[in-house]
Symmetry: C2
């Protein structure tokens, strides 16, 4: 274990692993990051675009100097282009040339990338939102020409040429969002705050598909109430440029909508190529397959974060749910393991929360009946609406909870929640119950908090469990 | 099972049981309530006193007519004075005389009463807060003379003579609260809203004792910040009257403080006398001992709510924690059982939440090391402070979490949380983990919700678990 711990990727998974290993051992720790940004909160970009977060640097949690202060050899603008698992080396290309770096243990934290199925996201005015540079460019575009100094935006990290180009343009009056997932819903809020005429196109009939029907409908209502025009069941065919590379319109079947700004937010895919090229096995999802310690099919090669699979708490099968906590947690566990303290990376419940204007949405586990049947369950769901506080207490607001369970065993499979008053964090109860493998009957008997300002006697999750348990008893 | 289901007590436990049985069976269901109020939310009274809840009737959830509409024979102002378990009858005293009522199953839901160790709570100006009548009187006292019409306060339920007496008095300028538990803390907020000079006396050195040291200190800071004068380590000896039965001062050792208004909130004790008189076994707590279906030592006699014990999720031993959800849940389960569907009443985690001005406080399980050792554990605790949201997101606020675990097994024993931003409901994660018997390592690996507006990447509960787990590993 005296050979270096080498990490590919300088964000959540990579730096969590590097930091933990550096703290817990005296191993040499080297992190290669192909870009300039490190340790940044991708999840915060919509709020920077909106203007609620003032500085782009607020979205970074550690500076390069702080990372180096942890005893980590951080090399930015160093791209790992290959892994030789027999020799135990990685090939690294940098502005200074290409070198071979030996490793004792290797952590692949290459992340994911935004999908651009229309090939138009490189048009001027079109974006994906999966990087701080595109967030910086978008916000520069939204502001009046000449009011943004590109050199002041990113402390030397940002792509100043890109930001500068948008800083000179007149702000858009219209925005098209392609895709009704997290990014689409969060940017609808952000663009509305800039008073744009916002149109959101969604291929299917529902927003936030993984959150289930009740949340999707509530969020659609909310977006419409806030003036966003929804185009559901409307697949986008292409983003059309004006011939000079500038976005002119979004084209759907039989319809096109002119716009100066478009964001393609139709999903992400794992950056699995480095691993695959090294002979590391990928899972069915296309992300890197790992065991309970995050180790891949190749000994001493680990993977974590958005490029890697995890194990699902409900099915105990591999699943790919690229989210921030998972990346941090798995990276940290691998850092502990390579420092000599074998630590499981933990399972995921697929817990996710998102804000849509005033609606707080949460989901965990398996909600979709097709997915549940595929996993061997016989799903039954109930949706209820209950108060967030005692009915007489000011601020009480409707909270809608869906719970899904297996008919035969009564086991809780998943849940969702949507509301305006402390709704999102209530999903943590569901996530914890899923990890514990509880039945709906056990959930119904949980001793959850009650006080008039915070919750009714029967918390909305308990109300849903009561109703679903009643349905299970009848079945 | 054709004999009637008879219920003693018309509040949470009793009416939950009666309603469930009436809905699920065709048994005759009779409820005896010795007072006039039924189905009321005692927990809401501080907010009525404060003025945030406008009408006293808002604190009732079902009217007598609605209860009768559920097929329940409700008899108010009927006091059950004895139970003959051999004959299967109860003796009932009412304005119309005394009768014997046969029962097939009996539910004792006689509740609890406020403790008045100084014997001064019957002075004019002194109160306990354990009934809607005292809340009505207190609020009438706080308002200007002549502005409250006693007949309009309680729709015929309220003690109009009592309310009328206070409605004529000049409002107090000073208030003394004896006891720093829920009632004391909530009333400190209520009286401050009326601009009284509020003094709170606490026998020990800490407020909200069952919530642990971190919460107690945060709440003391909050109360002081809001202008409440705290007298810690200051046992009250008596409430002194003026000789005509009117409160004049609160007397401590070597000190007395004049006041027009005093509330004694030093705790409650179970109304176990009816059960004990019938030969039903009480537990060590003085509350009625029950099995997992809420049945007492006497067959077909059940007890639930504030007069009964429950089983603790951590120790699996009997415990007496009189709170609203427990009463509703146990009552409902007993109603199902006597309707022919045997249903466990569930265990309690001792989960509680309380609002202290802007601080939200929660607790669950075992926090006190003495209690933990008594239950056979070797307790270790850690307290951390983390953000409630991503650090860059507006509204992020400090959230302090304490977790307590058993050193040998790593099992989670309890936790507390205090903060200003969605802090209270986070205790539900702890309560659920306690019910599942999780270790701190398992809690650390929970897949809890993360999105910048709602939670940091590592939820404060996860941060606490990480730190405590580190301490356990060192030990």
């Amino acid at each position: 274990m005296s050979d270096p711990f080498v990490v590919v990727g300088g964000d959540a998974a990579g730096l969590s692993g590097a930091s933990k290993c550096a703290r817990e051992s005296d191993r040499e720790v080297v992190v290669f990051e192909r870009g300039r940004w490190v340790s940044y909160a991708h999840c915060g970009t919509p709020y920077y675009v909106k203007g609620e977060v003032e500085s782009l640097l607020d979205l970074t949690s550690l500076s390069p100097a702080e990372i180096e202060g942890r005893g980590i050899d951080l090399r930015r603008e160093h791209e790992v282009t290959g892994v030789d698992v027999d020799a135990g080396t990685v090939t690294v290309r940098s502005p200074d040339g290409t070198v071979e770096q030996p490793y004792g243990d290797l952590l692949i934290g290459t992340g994911a990338r935004a999908v651009d199925p229309f090939g138009g996201a490189d048009l001027d005015g079109a974006f994906t939102l999966h990087h701080l540079d595109s967030a910086a460019a978008m916000r520069a575009f939204l502001r009046d020409p000449g009011t943004v100094d590109p050199a002041s935006v990113g402390d030397g990290f940002v792509d100043e040429a890109l930001v500068g180009r948008y800083a000179e343009r007149d702000p858009p009056e219209r925005a098209v969002i392609v895709g009704g997932g997290y990014v689409g819903v969060e940017l609808a809020e952000a663009f509305s705050a800039w008073d744009l005429d916002v149109h959101l196109f969604q291929r299917g009939d529902r927003l936030l598909h993984p959150f289930g029907e009740a949340v999707g409908e509530a969020v659609a209502d909310e977006l419409r109430k806030e003036g966003v025009t929804l185009h559901l069941d409307t697949p986008v065919a292409e983003l059309r440029g004006d011939g000079d590379g500038r976005l002119e319109a979004v084209v759907c079947e039989g319809e096109e909508r002119e716009t100066e700004l478009a964001v393609v937010g139709v999903g992400v895919e794992p950056n699995g190529e480095l691993a695959a090229g090294a002979g590391v096995a990928l899972g069915d999802s296309g992300a890197v397959a790992v065991d309970e310690y995050g180790e891949t099919s190749v000994p001493n090669v680990y993977a974590a974060g958005d490029c890697a699979e995890d194990r699902h708490a409900v099915t105990d099968e591999p699943a790919w749910v690229p989210l921030g906590l998972t990346a941090n947690r798995a990276g940290r566990a691998i850092g502990a393991t390579v420092a000599g303290d074998p630590t499981p990376v933990g399972r995921i419940a697929g817990t996710a929360v998102v804000k849509a204007f005033d609606r707080e949405c949460g989901r965990a586990g398996i909600l979709d009946h097709g997915d549940a049947r595929e996993a061997g369950f016989d799903p039954v769901s109930e949706t209820i609406t209950a108060g967030s506080r005692s009915g007489y207490y000011p601020g009480n607001a409707e909270t809608t909870v869906t719970l899904c369970a297996d008919r035969g065993s009564g086991r809780l499979l998943g849940g969702s929640v949507v509301g305006t008053d402390r709704a999102a964090v209530r999903i943590d109860t569901v996530a914890t119950a899923l990890e514990a493998g509880m039945t709906v009957g056990e959930v119904e008997r949980l001793d959850l908090a009650y006080a008039p300002p915070f919750s009714p006697v029967w918390d909305p999750v308990l109300v849903a469990a009561k109703v679903l348990n009643g349905t299970l008893a009848e079945a």
